[in-house]
Symmetry: C2
Subunit: 273 residues, 2 copies
């Protein structure tokens, strides 16, 4: 295969569900000529409450569904899967693999002034210690304080993102951070930016919120450029969507995430291979 | 196989996770000599947010794991799986299948004085219309009002079952019922009894709460007696626990449900067969 043929392949992106569409959206804005193939594992969502073994198994099968279609790079647009499975996928797959933890950690380290960073995420992401490791690898003087916030995902999915209720939940989860005097808080889950309002209100004006997935599109561009795999064509890239459950529901919710209708969502079986 | 051999087999029980242990506990209290084999599909929990097709597929594979071990009766201790998959399982399996919807509906009909019944459950259970159908089949004059309460399961799993927060969530979900003048409210999910306090406080003293799974053990006993399959031995029954993810977590959380330690929880692969 020529390099041009390979460059014409899609960027594969997977998440446990619909949240990773925020990552797809940013990649599409930054790299509008790239073909994108997104897989949402809606039949097994959420990953954040499950064990490392299970998340790795799920991540492998999602990656297999995408690589068998011929992709040139894989984005793990899920914090829990990035936290538990990035090393496994990187060592096993024939394409570069980019997660959301490393870019988020990098941005937090760049932004923190006092070297005290908070991280919130799913039970799995926090238990993995992946953010603390990634931040320490960049600057071992930085102190990292983590807190799992299991109720944030269902709250965001229910659309309860304003008013007293989410603020009260945020107060309960974030209470411990004030004594830590953090100046930066990583939103270590793709759902959490939907709750930015109440989280910011509770964290206070002295705390900068970093969206973990925000810098991922830059890492994607850098790797493709470095490997000479940016698509040369000037036609817009095609976007394809695969899900393991309920394509119609995904199309409806996904349209809210992307701001335009989503057509041709395809069901795939993730339980084999 | 003689009838005595068959009677010596276990009662199989499955749920999407840990919630069905409340059903197991009642069966164990009523039928202490019966062997019980419980499967919690913790790798694919929750079922309540997934499509009918997917829930039916999952229920089939859970039932297969239990029937291949030789059970004499299957209890579907999950409202969503009962709502979507009971007919399929009943027609396909070689043993009697008992769900939690029918016993809950029967109890609600027996208790309601004014013929106006509310049902709360997962998105899947409510979308299926299973309670409304079961109640109408018993008494077509009864009016049924349903409301999906997606946040109740994560709230119960987080252990936030007291205080202002769960009450505030309950107020939001139950607001519509007061104009309906219901006198009975079915807790159509095995997790909801953990939130009985805030739900009762919001529903008010005029509304009787019916735990859907409460009467299931009576149905189990009735079917076994009718078919001559009650275990004759006077030794205590053995209890076996299978999970599709994280046996240690299940043992820890399950001990809280059962009030005694849980040993020998075994991992099973539910993704095949």
């Amino acid at each position: 295969m020529t390099r041009a043929d390979k460059a014409d392949r899609a960027i594969g992106i997977f998440d446990s569900g619909v949240g990773g569409l925020t990552v797809l959206k940013r990649i599409a804005q930054r790299l509008p000529h790239e073909h994108l193939c997104y897989l949402g594992d809606t039949a097994r969502v959420p990953y954040g409450t499950k064990s490392a073994d299970t998340v790795i198994r799920y991540a492998r099968s999602c990656a297999a569904r995408l690589t068998e279609r011929g992709i040139k790079l894989l984005v793990v647009a899920c914090n829990t899967a990035s936290a538990y499975a990035l090393e496994t996928l990187s060592s096993e797959l024939p394409v570069p693999v980019i997660g959301v933890v490393e870019p988020g950690a990098r941005e937090a380290v760049r932004r923190s002034r006092n070297g005290r960073i908070g991280v919130i995420g799913t039970t799995g992401t926090v238990a993995s210690g992946a953010y603390a490791r990634a931040i320490s690898a960049l600057n071992s003087d930085i102190r990292v304080y983590s807190k799992a916030c299991p109720l944030f995902v269902p709250l965001a999915e229910e659309g309860w993102t304003r008013g007293e209720l989410p603020r009260s939940v945020a107060r309960t989860y974030l209470a411990g951070f004030s004594a830590r005097r953090i100046d930066t808080l990583v939103l270590g889950c793709t759902h959490y930016p939907l709750l930015r309002g109440p989280i910011a209100a509770v964290a206070g004006p002295g705390v900068l919120l970093v969206d973990s997935a925000r810098e991922t599109e830059k890492a994607v561009e850098a790797v493709l450029r470095e490997q000479g795999l940016l698509r040369a064509a000037s036609t817009p890239g095609r976007h394809q969507f695969l899900v393991s459950d309920a394509p119609a529901t995904f199309a409806r919710v996904g349209a809210r995430f992307l701001g335009h209708p989503l057509t041709g969502v395809e069901w795939v079986d993730v339980q084999t291979g």
